[in-house]
Each structure stands twice: as structure tokens, then as C-alpha cells.
């Protein structure tokens, strides 16, 4: 107690009175605190914290349960992730149209695997990313994605499977044919080009799909249609063993110009065009990257990562408590706020399908957690330094937090530059690292302004002055006092 009183001599009269009273008569101090409730600064800091609390509650609601609300990437869920890169036979860059067609074709192939929650998306100018979570037969998946679609034309009366035939006649879509039960008369390799156009009687506004065949194809088609035309027999268009369409032959087609009509909408016609294109892909797809992750393996990695973060944070917090004593609470609080806001943002992005946590992403989380602790240290160090320079606890909390935050913002800016450069320019899995890094920095900034600064200032308005030993600033106050004494002795040459 005596020491506290001595320390407080360096403060202003009112501060000293408050501090002494607080230390000597706790009861009166409580009363005093009630009396100061109307202090506008106190109200401002407190209301910031209340608003923050509301945001935190919203975040917690948004991300619980964490396992479901935050999407996990393929390397964590397990599954097959493949990047394929397109190239044209003549070496020119594939056009956006080519890529769109290729993407749709790949999507069809992936769908044929029957896996759920698959993703097929264009990446960059010429790559396609395919993700199949939890795929059990990786080999099958990779083979299916990689093979050129096999397009076949089959006479319906040459399909041996009666069940399948009945389904086709009943109008069932995507009937699967067992290999060996049918004999195609022609494959897709004889197709020169496929176009969607208005059908002949354009009044109806229906669309038709026009196919141009090569010489051999034309001859075969002429023969078959010649035989089928009298009975209006049907031809099944089969892609990778699945019947995509089965138009009836109206007349013999001999010129190699086939027109498939029906009451097609534009969309239907285009989807049929895609099927027909599959046999002759506009681009060549080559494997660029393929990752096959065992389903439990990914979960293990996630658990290891989370344990690593938890242990790391625990050690850091203990260390900060030892070093900063009561002010360590502030760091603990900042880390909690940081974590909650971070998870909230990740959950929100996951909800809109913009985020999936990958292992590189997890590394980004670890790294930014370190810098979140770092920015707390910056603020606390500056706060204590300003006390040592002879500023009162309150003044130090205001200017210390301000300067500390300025420094942290600089540090964050440097990191943000790196994060964005990685996110925008790098390709592959590193992007995930850049994204979590950038998000972590944003959370750090939010934490600084909405928690660290108001909380420190609120504490400085009362309890820190009254309990300097608990809050770990007693030595700094003593240092300020020593300095002041030394200066008084020298006659106050400098005003440090």
C-alpha cells in the first residue's frame, strides 16, 4: 500500500486522490465509481464494447457448430482434387467458349460418377478444377475424368437389354446401357461440327441441333436412316454408355447434314450440342495436378493443426500473463475476440460458397494468430513505456493505444501486401493461405479498434491505477517517479 501511495505522487492531484482512496478504502472507491458513471469517456468505451459484444454473439451463432458451418477443403475432407489444363491441338489459346464447353463436358463425366457435392469450375484462363469429396475409388474417378467422352450412335432395335429399352420408350432420361448389350453403328469421331439453330419451321420458335458428318459418317448415316425411315425407327445417342437422346428418323439423310428436331428450347438444344461435342472435345485436357487424400487422413491433419494452434495459443497466453500480469487478460480477451470474429467471417464466406478451409489456409490462421498477439504486445509495450515517461495511466492508455495501433497498422499493411499478392498472383493451393492471411489481418484491425483500445482505456479509468501491482505497471510507475526525482535534482534540464 505504501508503495502504491508513493507511486501515485507523480500523478495529478485528482488522480492521486482517486488512487489513494481506492487503495485505502475500497468501499468508498466503489461508491466513487458509481458516481463517475456519467463520465462520457467511460460511456463511449463501454458502448463500443457493448456493440462489439452484440457482433460477437452474432458471430458465435453464425459459426456453431464449427464443423458444419465452415466448409472444409478437399485436403481436409479427403477426396479427389484434380486440376486439368486445356490446350488446342494447334497451340493457340483456348477461347472462353471452348472452356465453357469443356467445363460442361467434364461436369457431365463427374456427374456420371454419382458422387455428391462435386465441384467443377474454371480456374484462370485455361484450367478446370474438379473436386470430388470423399471419393472412395480414386482410380475410377481419375480415369473417368480423364477419358475422352465416347459418343456412340445406336439403332434402338440393336439394343439387347429389354429393361433399358422399355425405359427409353417410356421417355426416362439418362438410361444407362450395359456394355456388350448394344452395337453402335457409328462413333462421335465422324462428327465434323455441331451447331444449334432455329428449326425449319421457325414460326414455332423451336430450336434444332444440326450435325455435319464426315464422308464415312455420312455414308453410314445414310444407310441406317434409309433402313429406319419407313418405320420411323429411333437412333439412340449414347455418351459413355448413357442414352442422352433418342430421336426418331423421319427420312433418309444422305448428305451428311443431320438435323435433330423436336420441341427443343435453346437450353435443351445446347445441352444436346454439348453431348455431341463430347466425342470431339474442342480442346485437349491434360492433368496438371491431382491430389487424392484419404478421408480420415485429412481429418487427422485438421485435428493436428487445431491442436497445434490451441497449444501454441495456450503457451503464448501463459507467457504473456507472466510477463504482463493483469494486462495479460487484455491479450487473452483480444485473442478471444479475434478468434470469434475470424470464425464468424469464415462461416459467412462458407455460407456463400466463397471459402473452404485447406491446410495452407490453416497455416495462414496460425500465422495471423501470432500477429494478433503481436499487436497486443505493441499496444501494451507502448502503454507501459508512456507510463515510464511520466504520463499518467489514463493519458498513457489513450496515447499508448493510439501509437501502438499505428505501429500495428503498419505491420498489418506490410502483411496485407504479401497476402494479396499471393491471393491474386499465385496459383494452386497457396491461394488459400493468402486468403486466410488477409482475413486474419482484417480481424486483427477490427479487434484493435473495437476491443483493445476501448478495453485498455476503460481499465485505465479506474482499476489499473488502484491496483498497479495486479496490472503489472508498478515498476513502470516507480521508474517514472525515479526519473522525475532525478530531474528535480538536476534542476529539470530536459523534459523527456
Amino acid at each position: 500500500m505504501a508503495r502504491e501511495k508513493k507511486n501515485s505522487e507523480s500523478l495529478s492531484g485528482v488522480d492521486r486522490w482517486n488512487a489513494t482512496e481506492g487503495a485505502a478504502r475500497p468501499k468508498a472507491a466503489r461508491k466513487g465509481r458509481r458516481g463517475r458513471k456519467s463520465d462520457p469517456r467511460r460511456r463511449r468505451y463501454a458502448s463500443t464494447l457493448v456493440v462489439l459484444l452484440a457482433v460477437l454473439v452474432a458471430c458465435v451463432v453464425a459459426f456453431t457448430p464449427v464443423g458444419e458451418k465452415i466448409t472444409q477443403g478437399l485436403d481436409i475432407r479427403g477426396g479427389v482434387s484434380v486440376i486439368m489444363t486445356a490446350s488446342k491441338p494447334d497451340g493457340s489459346a483456348p477461347s472462353a467458349d471452348d472452356m465453357a464447353t469443356a467445363t460442361t463436358i467434364v461436369q457431365n463425366r463427374v456427374n456420371s460418377l454419382g458422387a455428391s457435392e462435386t465441384t467443377v469450375q474454371k480456374q484462370g484462363d485455361k484450367s478446370i478444377l474438379i473436386q470430388i469429396p470423399g471419393a472412395t475409388d480414386a482410380n475410377q474417378a481419375i480415369k473417368t475424368i480423364g477419358q475422352t467422352g465416347l459418343l456412340e450412335f445406336v439403332r434402338l432395335d440393336e439394343i439387347g437389354d429389354a429393361d433399358a429399352l422399355a425405359k427409353i420408350n417410356a421417355g426416362t432420361e439418362d438410361v444407362k446401357l450395359k456394355s456388350g448389350t448394344y452395337t453402335p453403328f457409328m462413333t462421335g469421331s465422324h462428327i465434323d461440327s455441331v451447331q444449334v439453330g432455329q428449326s425449319g419451321n421457325s414460326l414455332s420458335g423451336d430450336y434444332a441441333v444440326n450435325i455435319k458428318l464426315d464422308g464415312t459418317g455420312s455414308r453410314k448415316f445414310a444407310d441406317v436412316t434409309g433402313e429406319l425411315a419407313p418405320t420411323n425407327g429411333r437412333i439412340a445417342i449414347v455418351l459413355d454408355g448413357v442414352v442422352k437422346s433418342a430421336p426418331a428418323v423421319q427420312s433418309k439423310i444422305s448428305g451428311g447434314e443431320v438435323s435433330i428436331t423436336g420441341k427443343f428450347t435453346l437450353k435443351e438444344a445446347q445441352s444436346l450440342k454439348t453431348v455431341l461435342d463430347s466425342g470431339s472435345l474442342p480442346v485437349t485436357l491434360k492433368y496438371s495436378e491431382s491430389r487424392v487424400v484419404g478421408p480420415t487422413l485429412g481429418q487427422d491433419s485438421l485435428t493436428q493443426g487445431v491442436v497445434a494452434i490451441a497449444v501454441g495459443v495456450a503457451i503464448v497466453v501463459v507467457y504473456l500473463f507472466v510477463f504482463y500480469r493483469g494486462l495479460g487478460l487484455l491479450t487473452l480477451g483480444s485473442l478471444a475476440v479475434f478468434g470469434i470474429v475470424y470464425l464468424g467471417i469464415l462461416a459467412a464466406l462458407s455460407h456463400f460458397g466463397l471459402f473452404a478451409l485447406t491446410l495452407p489456409g490453416l497455416a495462414g490462421v496460425v500465422l495471423t494468430t501470432g500477429s494478433a498477439a503481436d499487436s497486443s504486445i505493441l499496444v501494451l509495450e507502448r502503454f507501459r513505456e508512456e507510463i515510464r515517461m511520466g504520463r499518467g495511466v489514463r493519458a498513457a492508455s489513450v496515447s499508448g493505444a493510439k501509437h501502438g495501433i499505428m505501429t500495428s497498422l503498419d505491420a498489418d499493411a506490410v502483411q496485407l501486401v504479401t497476402a494479396l499478392a499471393l491471393f491474386l498472383f499465385a496459383i494452386g493451393s497457396v491461394k488459400g493461405f493468402g486468403l486466410t492471411l488477409a482475413l486474419g489481418i482484417a480481424c486483427d484491425v477490427i479487434t484493435m479498434f473495437c476491443f483493445k483500445a476501448p478495453a485498455l482505456r476503460l481499465l485505465a479509468l479506474g482499476t489499473i491505477e488502484r491496483h498497479p501491482v495486479f496490472w503489472g505497471v508498478d515498476q513502470d510507475l516507480a521508474e517514472a517517479k525515479r526519473r522525475q526525482d532525478a530531474q528535480a535534482k538536476k534542476g529539470g534540464v530536459r523534459n523527456a
Binding site: 493443426g305 494452434i309 503464448v316 507467457y319 504473456l320 505491420a411 496459383i427
Partner: protein, 323 residues
């Protein structure tokens, strides 16, 4: 102003030793780079990486035999430990994912491992050059932006010395990768880039303090630039130590507990972080101090009041006078 410590730690007094150590480290790194060379991950050159975990009592010889029987004759096999379970990291030149997966499955079957126990990553031959180009692009843009940022925010001489320290970190880190023959992956590049940006900033915080103190102590106080620098380093050293600890502890945990991807990041971060902290007081500050002392004004002060010129008693006394 005083640091947390009763006495200043004489960093600048030992500048020759510190810089000497750095020169030795850089030389060792260069020797490593020339003699052993860097190993690049499959992402940069194409190939297959199979990560077997929880392999129980399978020996490296059994793994080699199984792979060889499966068709991977020239596989490089390394043992790994994650989560106290042993495993293997296999690298092969196969660039066709279908083949790679078939071989991996065959080897796993021969050894009695289930498909849940391994990860197969195959990178096509052309993708590697794309990854290399985009990584290099991201690296150059990030470094250029950081340097631009520091130059705008602070003094020119400072950004030059800071960049020298950065290059020092980079060369030594690459040396570590060469000597340990740890493969460099895009993840490593990303981690290094982040840490280096961060360390560079550490240096700048220190320089900023030096700048402030130099302005404040310019007149009347007989202090040389070396003394000011040393004093400034001591002022920020607590912050530096604490931030390094808070940053390094989670990274060490990740290195100790994480799986192979996380270890990739963690190793790069650990090396970068430690070097970055070291170089900020042992390379950047002494260099700046030496450069500044060559200026006329500071040279005169150094000749008159420097540590070498007069037998000044102990530094703390000088520090107190300054207040």
C-alpha cells in the same frame, strides 16, 4: 528513457563480431547452395508424391520393395513421423495421375495399408512451369511493394539497409534448405514471403526508434550514432523478444504436431522468423549505424566521444546523462 534491463546489452559494441558471424553464415549458405543445390518440390517440376501415414511396423526396405513391385522403380523414400505415428514420404517422377494412383494402391495393398492411410499428389509436367512463373511473379510483386511501402514511409538509407538485411535472411534461409535438402514447395515460398515482409517491418520499427532518438539527442548531448543505435535497440528489444516468442511458439507447435503440409509452412516460418529477428539487430542496425557514422557530423562525434576514442566508463552512465 531506459530499457527493461538494468544495463544496456552492447550490440553495437560487438558489431564486428555480429557482422562477422553473418558473413560466415552467408558464406556457408552460398557453399551449401553451390555444393548441394536446392531441392524443388514436385509442384515445380512435375512428379508424384505419396504420403503414407500410420504405417505401423512397415520398414523402409519393405516400402521400397512394395513400390518397386508396383512399378515405381526410382522412388525416393523418406521416413516421417506425425502424431507419434510413423509414415513414409515417397517421391517419384510419374506425371500421370492414373498410373501414380494405381501404383500407390498396389503398394499399399502389398503392405496391408488401407486407402485412408495415404495421399497421392501428382503434378503434370507443364503445370510446374506455370506454378514457378506465378510463384515468382507473386514473390517479386510482394517484395517490390513492401520495399516501396517502407521507402515511402521511412528514410531511403533505412530501406536500403533493411533490404540488405532481407537479402541476408533470404540467402541464409536458402542455404538452410540446401544443407538440409528440404524440398522447396509453393507453400514454402508463400511462408517465406510472409515472414520476410514481417521481419522487414521489425527492422523498420527499430530504425524508426533510432531516427526518433537521433533527432531528440542531436544537440548538447555527447552521444555518437553508435551509442544512439545501441540504446534504441535496447529500447525495443523487449518488444522484439516478445513478438518473436508469440510468433515462434505457435509455429514450433505446428512443426511438432502438424502433418506434412503444416510442417512445410512451419519450418520455413521458423527459419525465417528467427533470422529476421536476428538480422534486425545484428545486421540492419549495425550497418545503418556504420553508414550514418560515415556522415561528417556523426564522424566528428564518434572520434570525440566514441567507445574506441575515449575510455568511457560503462554505457549505462552515458544513458542516464542523456535523459
Amino acid at each position: 528513457m531506459r530499457s527493461h534491463f538494468a544495463h544496456e546489452i552492447p550490440f553495437i559494441q560487438h558489431r564486428r563480431q555480429l557482422l562477422g558471424l553473418s558473413v560466415v553464415l552467408v558464406a556457408l549458405a552460398v557453399v551449401g547452395l553451390v555444393a548441394r543445390g536446392l531441392v524443388f518440390g514436385i509442384e515445380f517440376q512435375g512428379g508424384t508424391e505419396i504420403d503414407f501415414t500410420n504405417t505401423g511396423s512397415v520398414t523402409i526396405a519393405q516400402m521400397r520393395d512394395a513400390l518397386s513391385d508396383a512399378g515405381e522403380k526410382d522412388a525416393s523414400v523418406q521416413t516421417t513421423v506425425s502424431d507419434a505415428k510413423s509414415g513414409f514420404l515417397v517421391r517419384t517422377g510419374t506425371t500421370d495421375p492414373s498410373t501414380a494412383n494405381r501404383h500407390a494402391a498396389a503398394a499399399a495393398k502389398a503392405l496391408g495399408l488401407t486407402s485412408e492411410n495415404y495421399t497421392v499428389t501428382t503434378i503434370g509436367p507443364d503445370w510446374g512451369s506455370d506454378v514457378t512463373r506465378s510463384s515468382a511473379l507473386a514473390f517479386c510483386i510482394a517484395i517490390a511493394l513492401i520495399i516501396a511501402f517502407v521507402s515511402v514511409r521511412y528514410e531511403f538509407k533505412m530501406s536500403i539497409t533493411a533490404v540488405v538485411a532481407l537479402l541476408h535472411d533470404l540467402v541464409i534461409t536458402l542455404g538452410v534448405y540446401a544443407w538440409t535438402q528440404t524440398p522447396i514447395t509453393p507453400n514454402v515460398v508463400a511462408a517465406l514471403l510472409t515472414i520476410m515482409g514481417y521481419s522487414l517491418y521489425d527492422t523498420v520499427v527499430e530504425f524508426n526508434r533510432v531516427n526518433e532518438n537521433a533527432k531528440q539527442l542531436r544537440d548538447g548531448v555527447h552521444r555518437t550514432f553508435h551509442q544512439i543505435t545501441n540504446f534504441s535497440i535496447n529500447e525495443v528489444i523487449v518488444r522484439t523478444i516478445n513478438t518473436t516468442i508469440t510468433a515462434v511458439v505457435p509455429v514450433i507447435c505446428m512443426l511438432a504436431l502438424g502433418g506434412s503440409t503444416l510442417k512445410d509452412f512451419a519450418f520455413a516460418m521458423l527459419v525465417g522468423e528467427l533470422l529476421g529477428t536476428y538480422s534486425s539487430f545484428a545486421v540492419a542496425s549495425p550497418l545503418l549505424s556504420i553508414w550514418k557514422t560515415s556522415e561528417k557530423k556523426w564522424k566528428r562525434l564518434e572520434e570525440k566521444y566514441g567507445w574506441d576514442a575515449v575510455d568511457t566508463p560503462s554505457e549505462p552512465v552515458a544513458a542516464k546523462d542523456a535523459e
